[in-house]
Amino acid sequence: MSATLIVFFVLAALAVLGAVNLIVQRHPIHSALSLIVVMVALAGLYLLLGAEFVAAVQIIVYGGAIMVLFTFVIMLLNAGEEEHTNFSKLANIAGIPLAVAIAGFIAATIVHSGQPLPPAAAQGSLTNTKTLSMMIFRDFVYPFELTSFLILVAILGAIVLAQRER
């Protein structure tokens, strides 16, 4: 029972609990806070896998920008608690086991598939920032420029959509 395994289980439990809390909570702001916990736990898992740059980017971009955007929108739109639904209870009761079955099926497929994969250990730093940046700016430079264009389109779209009516 190495320390890495213990840390993995702690972070994995944190992520799953955060996701379950997202479903269970009724007010969207509490769901947003749970999602932030999931993202920080995932960043910890990336660190465990040795992907330090991706972990930092996950927290900075996902946790520090995207979720802040969600939080602002929830606060500004004054989203209240969810109301009760009049739909059948049967859908609720049958649906959750169905979802668990989907996840279990995917998981079983992965575990029993073809050749076993080598263990995902954080041996040194295979991909430090320098390697990653060389890949992005040499092999993947076209997708990189396209994503910057995409962000520009997104900025324009957000500004145009959310501006006040003239």
Partner: protein, 410 residues
């Protein structure tokens, strides 16, 4: 026993350093409030705290007691989770960011070489940016959770301000990263170490390498953006008392308000430490290494302070002052003599001494600005952040990389 110790040496050393650091940081925060009140008072031609202890030095103790003993009501209609989470989150993030900062060079203790900060990560700067990004939540949640229009407005304004200036702050550091080629803070300081040049090798002049470009623009962008991040004057409209009652921490009383308070001063401390590490050479001395007589500067400073304390205690008003201050002064002079006599200890003290001196200069500058400048209006603040500071930071990155490309040997 020895094997167990060496296996867990890192952990034990880290725990000891954490305990010492938390103790020192909380004391520094408390006395930073004292320093702020004294300096602002003298700028405004009045005295500041004088009665509580000699020179008002026990004022932070009195404030702490007040915070502990005051009633801590919870307003009705608050969102319990967010209301209790916000001050904890802010304080947690503010203090965590101090774990990565290197206060001095590596040193050996009991044959074990250890880093002078708590953790030396490859990506220290990114971790600091991540913590800065997350600290927006404390403010936003605090504003929203209090069942109060003014808090909500103050919280949203404050968090929008923090997000806007975060961009300029991150980009202005990129120039330093280009020159240093390393994300870790210890690596950045070590890249500035050119003992022949002393002051000029710091990143703000960047003369030591053959390919550097002076980072003055970057430093000014970083410092202004950092002041906006920490919500200090001249950027503190969202929490100014005359504007929005107290902004996002209106509804917070004694202990939770103390947490916001400590978090603000710790954030100031972190920003000052970062500015010295990135632009001013961290623990490096401003004098060239060949001027070895400068090693006795800490001793001289202690002599001076001790002599001043003894001189001021003669005929001081209160009995406490007349009793305690000569003792404190003598202790400082004795420590100075001990430092001068033990060269190992003197060498150990050099790094942290220069670090503390530079951080103190920045904190003094922060307080000086608070006492002197008026505050920005909110739209002026946002215009300045997006339309001036961000383009200037980007221009700094472009300029630095162009000069580096031109000067770098092929």
């Amino acid at each position: 026993m020895n094997e167990v110790l060496t296996q867990y040496a890192f952990l034990i050393a880290a725990i000891i350093k954490i305990v010492i650091l938390v103790f020192i940081v909380l004391t520094v925060d408390a006395y930073l409030t004292w320093l702020e009140r004294k300096v602002i008072a003298h700028i405004q031609a009045r005295w500041g705290p004088r009665r509580t202890g000699p020179f008002g030095l026990l004022q932070p103790l009195a404030d702490g007691l007040k915070f502990i003993l005051k009633e801590d009501p919870t307003p009705t209609g608050v969102d319990k989770t967010a209301y209790f989470l916000a001050p904890f989150l802010t304080l947690l993030l503010a203090v965590t960011s101090l774990a990565i900062i290197p206060f001095g060079p590596d040193f050996k203790v009991f044959g074990y070489t250890t880093n002078f900060g708590i953790a030396d990560v490859n990506i220290s700067i990114l971790v600091l940016f991540a913590i800065t990004a997350l600290s927006v939540y404390g403010v936003a949640l605090a504003g929203w959770a209090s069942n109060n229009k003014y808090s909500l407005l103050g919280g949203l304004r404050s968090s929008a301000q923090m997000i806007s200036y975060e961009l300029a702050m991150t980009l202005s550091v990129v120039g330093v990263l280009l020159i240093a080629g390393d994300f870790s803070l210890k690596g950045i300081v070590l890249q500035q170490e050119f003992p022949k040049l002393g002051l000029l090798s710091w990143n703000i002049f960047a003369i030591g390498h053959g390919y550097g470009f002076t980072q003055v623009i970057g430093f000014f962008c970083y410092f202004i953006a950092a002041i906006a991040e920490t919500n200090r004057i001249p950027f503190d409209l969202p929490e100014a008392e005359s504007e929005l009652v107290a902004g996002y921490h209106t509804e917070y009383a004694s202990m939770k308000f103390a947490m916001f308070f400590i978090a603000e001063y710790t954030a100031m401390l972190t920003v000052s430490c970062l500015a010295t590490v990135l632009f001013f050479g961290g623990w490096l001395s401003p004098f060239p290494g060949s001027w070895t007589f400068t090693q006795y500067l800490p001793t001289l400073l202690l002599f001076g302070l001790g002599a001043y304390a003894i001189y001021m205690s003669i005929g001081y008003e209160t009995m406490l002052g007349r009793l305690v201050m000569p003792g404190v002064g003598t202790a400082m002079i004795v420590i100075g003599v001990v430092l001068a006599l033990i060269p190992d200890l003197n060498h150990f003290v050099q790094g942290p001494f220069w670090f503390v001196a530079k951080v103190f200069a920045f904190l003094f500058f922060y307080i000086w600005m608070r006492g002197t400048l008026p505050r920005f209006r909110y739209d002026q603040l946002m215009t300045f952040g997006w339309k001036f500071l961000l383009p200037v930071s980007i221009a700094n990155v472009v300029l630095t990389s162009a000069v580096m490309l031109w000067r770098m040997p092929r």
